[in-house]
């Protein structure tokens, strides 16, 4: 797997230099999940982010009755798990492999090592996460406005 090529195409690592991408690539660990395998469960403690190299995952959240509902399906180069990385809360959703998946796994500790080496690069990773969260917030606002 060409980790650098994969990471350079992911919105999580937009604007990072080649040197920074190479370092993140060295810090990431490939993980393989079979279709149907749970990557993490809603309510678990989480301190890592995943970037999808190949395959698809589905984001599931339980409703009041406990039944799971699909919120989204993510594919190559997209990422998930970043919310727990930022707010240090429990996982807000369950993520399950929809097909066989190759993922890159980055723990908070490994990102801290990245910060020590490339502070500006790390800042951009945080900006990218903030952009993603901001986009989601705008989308939620639009939906709420459409309802009222």
């Amino acid at each position: 797997m060409d980790k650098v090529a994969l990471l350079s195409g992911s919105p999580l690592f937009e604007m990072l230099s080649n040197q920074e991408l190479e370092y993140v690539a060295d810090l990431s660990r490939p993980r393989h999940f079979r279709a149907g395998a749970t990557i993490f469960e809603e309510g678990e403690l989480g301190d890592s982010v995943y970037v999808i190299a190949s395959g698809e995952v589905e984001i599931l959240r339980r409703d009041a009755t406990g039944a799971p509902h699909r919120l989204a399906v993510l594919g190559p180069r997209e990422f998930f798990g970043e919310m727990s990385l930022i707010d240090k809360e429990y996982r807000s959703a369950t993520v399950r492999a929809k097909t066989d998946c190759e993922l890159l796994h980055l723990t908070a500790e490994n990102l801290t090592a990245f910060r020590k080496q490339h502070r500006d690069g790390f800042t951009f990773v945080i900006i990218n996460i903030a952009r993603m969260l901001s986009a989601r917030l705008r989308e939620a606002n639009t939906r709420l406005a459409a309802r009222s």
Partner: protein
């Protein structure tokens, strides 16, 4: 453990001396893995062979018991056939006696019939004829009764002989079966012996393989320890360590294995990591020469924050 700068560690790893040591280490590991696999295979074969030898032995004993049962059965059948044969002798004697008696009756009946015919021709008085007729009828009845008895006696003799013949057939089959099963048992005993011999040979081979494993382990350890002398490294199981020249709390670790599961990063052979003394390889950082914390000439922030807007303007103020 010698102190080395990161560029020195990288140079060392790329040097022909280190590469030749690395090749020797890889070869020693392969040799050990092969030796262990061979020993495992022999152990598996030995366990299987011992089990199969025991199984053959057990089958042989069971089969031998079965042969004994067949022999017992044949002996019982022989005794039964002889008993039947013996029982038939008085039967034959009784039949012969009865046959003689019936023959006598037949002659007597013939004489009475002839006497009655002559009396009829001589026109004897009716009461005399009636008396003669009654005598003839009595003789005919007795002849019939005794003939039936004679036939019953013969039937009994034949039944005994038939049963004796059947039992003899079964006996001969049981005898043959006993011989056959005994031969099977002997073959199984031979097979068990052969397997025991093979197990014994495998045990010897296994001992030789265990010695080879120990030798391969010793060679691997000697190759590993050679890195202490040749490169001044601290030698671990999966890493070589070099002291950081300016930071006593840090060291460089050169990976000697490939491992994507058990460390915080993907570990590739000969990759260089920076480790802190307390946590050691519990947390590996890919080694890099120090870069300025924040490069003032980095224009990316200006580009991002100060140049224009990326998105489309909202339709309504938000």
């Amino acid at each position: 453990m010698r102190a080395r700068r990161l560029d020195e560690v990288r140079e060392l790893v790329a040097s022909p001396d280190f590469q030749s040591w690395w090749q020797a280490l890889v070869a020693a590991r392969i040799a050990l893995a092969d030796a262990e696999a061979h020993r495992e295979e022999l152990l598996a074969q030995l366990t299987s062979m011992e089990f199969r030898a025991e199984l053959s032995q057990k089958h042989a004993i069971d089969t031998l018991y079965r042969a004994g049962e067949n022999e017992d059965s044949a002996a019982h059948l022989l005794a039964e056939a002889e008993t039947l044969e013996n029982r038939s002798f008085p039967g034959v004697a009784a039949f012969e006696e009865q046959r003689y008696r019936v023959s006598e009756l037949w002659y007597r009946l013939g004489a009475l019939e002839s006497q009655l015919e002559q009396a009829k021709e001589a026109r004897l008085p009716a009461p005399q004829l009636l008396t003669l007729e009654r005598q003839r009828q009595a003789a005919a009845d007795e002849y019939e009764r005794e003939t039936a008895r004679k036939n019953r006696l013969w039937d009994e003799v034949e039944r005994l002989w038939a049963r004796s013949a059947e039992v003899s057939l079964l006996r001969s089959e049981q005898q043959l079966q006993a011989r056959k099963v005994r031969r099977d048992a002997e073959a199984l005993f031979a097979q068990a012996e052969e397997r025991k011999k093979r197990a014994h040979a495998l045990k010897s081979e296994g001992e030789a393989a265990a010695t080879a494993v120990e030798a391969a382990k010793a060679k691997l350890e000697a190759t590993r320890q050679a890195a202490v002398e040749r490169f001044g490294a601290l030698v671990g199981t999966d890493f070589l360590f070099f002291r950081h020249p300016h930071d006593s709390r840090h060291a460089y670790a050169v990976a000697l294995v490939e491992d994507t599961e058990h460390y915080n990063v993907e570990v590739r052979p000969l990759a260089v990591f920076s480790v802190e003394h307390r946590r050691g390889v519990g947390f590996l950082e890919p080694a890099r020469t120090a870069s300025p914390a924040a490069d003032e000439s980095d224009r990316r922030f200006e580009t991002w924050f100060l140049q224009g807007r990326k998105g489309t303007p909202p339709r309504s103020p938000t």
